[in-house]
């Protein structure tokens, strides 16, 4: 029961979340293509819930992998400057936007964000290659420093920007799961599915890397190669997600911790539990974001922390 709960919850979320939202929906109208609710259900809500599902699962898995890889509890998919890179890309574009608008403009934002991530990723990979003997914690520090650089560049752009451009950037950073149709899902799936598969196939390696690097090496884990692989997979996935939804940092940090406390450190179970729990958690938060306010909707980044933190603190500090 305890083991299958996240799975069941996440499936329930997938089915029931699209039924609720700003407007009420009649089940019968869903199957009538002429009706407006058909569009709302199939083109707005359904892809959005799927995005939430994937995004929650991906971020949780990514956080789990990074926490094991860097053996640091504060690591998350965005610790190494990935989201900083994406935000910088978006910030720059917000500033220069007007000149380059053309028919491709709809993906240009995502591209800019993705490009920013790629800069961050290549920098870290370069460090990893150039200093094969540095411990992995140094890489973490390097990544954090990098994310500081990005942040300061964003600050600089904001400093130069007009107040309404600043507001636009801030809005982007709040994150939003709003998409129309299934195309955006198609765009990011080549980043996310391989990443999840790679991490799935590296569960045993994660167990060993999480224990101790030396032990892992003598037991046959190809340390450098797997580090690079995990880093690349998680980063590309995060880059895809962040460029589509904005930075949703909380899930990747907290969901793996929660699952680790409940299900233990073994990545064989942890992988599935994090995946399903992350997926459920984000779907649930998104539902609240859509249902709670009478007008507009809350940014997802607000809900995740507000809902997640009390639970997280309960799990960590409950009497054992």
């Amino acid at each position: 029961m305890k083991n299958s709960l996240p799975c069941i919850l996440s499936l329930i979320a997938l089915i029931f979340c699209p039924l609720y939202g700003f407007s009420e929906i009649d089940i019968e109208n869903i199957f009538n293509p002429q009706h407006q609710q058909y569009f709302i259900f199939w083109e707005l809500r359904m892809p959005r819930i799927i995005l939430c599902w994937i995004c929650g699962a991906g971020l949780a898995i990514g956080g789990m992998a990074f926490q094991a890889l860097f053996r640091n509890e504060l690591a998350s998919p965005f610790t190494l400057g990935i989201s900083g890179g994406a935000a910088l890309g978006v910030a720059i574009l917000t500033m220069v936007e007007i000149q380059i608008i053309n028919e491709y403009s709809s993906i240009i934002y995502s591209l800019a964000a993705f490009l920013g991530c790629l800069i961050a990723i290549s920098f870290i990979l370069l460090l990893h290659r150039l200093r094969p003997n540095s411990p992995i914690s140094d890489l973490l520090l390097g990544g954090v420093a990098l994310s500081f650089i990005f942040n300061s560049l964003i600050l600089f752009i904001q400093y130069m920007a007009r107040p309404d451009d600043i507001a636009r950037m801030v809005y982007w950073m709040m994150g939003s799961m709003q998409i129309v149709g299934y195309k955006p899902l198609l765009y990011i799936s080549p980043l996310i599915l391989p990443a999840i598969l790679i991490i799935y196939s590296l569960r045993k390696e994660l167990d060993l890397l999480f224990s101790c690097e030396q032990l892992a090496a003598t037991r046959g884990v190809q340390i450098r190669k797997n580090q690079r692989l995990i880093f690349l997979a998680v980063s590309l996935m995060s880059a895809g997600l962040v460029s589509l939804c904005g930075p949703i940092g909380f899930v990747g940090l907290v969901v793996p911790h929660i699952c680790r406390r409940i299900y233990g450190p073994g990545h064989k179970t942890l992988f599935w539990q994090s995946l399903f729990f992350g997926a459920f958690f984000l779907c649930f938060c998104d539902l609240l974001c859509r249902v709670l306010p009478s007008q507009g909707e809350l940014p997802i980044g607000i809900m995740t922390a507000l809902i997640g933190t009390p639970f997280f603190i309960y799990i960590i500090f409950k009497k054992r």
């Binding site: 045993k204 390696e205 167990d207 060993l208 999480f210 224990s211 101790c212 030396q214 032990l215 090496a217 003598t218 037991r219 046959g220 884990v221 190809q222 340390i223 190669k225 233990g264 450190p265 073994g266």
Partner: protein, 246 residues
């Protein structure tokens, strides 16, 4: 089967290993003795690739160990470290299971439960690593190295911290598995009597140099050992004539 040739290693201007040469016979038990800080642990780490060294030649059969990936190396060499960093809360069973990483599930030659039984870990198989006593942890590490099922096993003071009974049982287990699974052991220890009794061959390191490489018999009178360790050994013998150095 293992050939170490011209192995030197230094950090800064401190020499830790100076021109070590030896090779191991297949299916033999070789003990490494030597004072603290002689370089024994460093030597084992060199062999299993934990610190890289471009200049030396370390071969397993005909293959260059240094050019191998970790995966290939692990399939040939298992290693029980002298000290482990603090490990996550895996259970004993999970932890030992992880040692089979270098084998695909099908080719796994040994049964986990059998190993747990022989190492007397069956009663604590569900216990988490962080709660184990010192001696229990040593046995877990030894059991993992067996479960890794590699032909060569490097043991770094695996019997330190074991009580007399478990000490004997691990020594015998080493001896038994050597015969049974045709394993080769390279065993660093400070327990001279165990070395003299079980080893086919003894290497002695002192001040980073390999100063002795022969069968145990040459040491049994204790004269050479007294010199090396700078301690007067007494030679006692029991009724069966078995000699002990104290």
């Amino acid at each position: 089967m293992l050939t170490v040739d011209k192995l030197s290693y230094s950090v800064g201007n401190k020499t830790i290993l100076a021109d070590i040469n030896f090779d191991l016979q297949h299916n033999s038990l070789t003990c490494i003795l030597g004072p603290n800080g002689a370089g024994k642990t460093s030597l084992l780490k060199q062999i299993c690739g934990l610190s890289k060294n471009k200049s030396a030649t370390i071969k397993f059969g005909d293959e260059d160990l240094l050019a191998m990936t970790e995966l290939q190396r692990a399939a040939l060499i298992a290693y029980v470290p002298q000290k482990t960093s603090s490990l996550p809360d895996f259970s004993v069973r999970e932890f030992i299971q992880q040692a089979s990483y270098c084998h695909s599930a099908k080719t796994l030659p040994i049964d986990l439960d059998a190993i747990l039984l022989t190492c007397e870990l069956k009663t604590i198989e569900k216990q988490s690593l962080s709660t184990l006593s010192g001696g229990e942890m040593q046995r877990v590490l030894f059991a993992s190295s067996l479960y890794q099922a590699s032909p060569l096993i490097l043991l770094d003071e695996v019997t330190a911290g074991l009580d007399p009974a478990h000490h004997d049982s691990i020594c015998q287990l080493i001896h038994k598995t050597k015969e049974l699974h045709k394993l080769t052991y390279l065993w660093v220890t400070h327990d001279i009597n165990a070395a003299l009794r079980y080893a086919d061959r003894i290497l002695i390191l002192k001040n980073s140099k390999l100063i002795f490489d022969d069968t145990p018999d040459a040491l049994k009178n204790g004269i050479l050992l007294s010199e090396i360790f700078e301690k007067e050994f007494k030679v006692l013998s029991d009724e069966q004539g078995q000699k002990y150095l104290i």
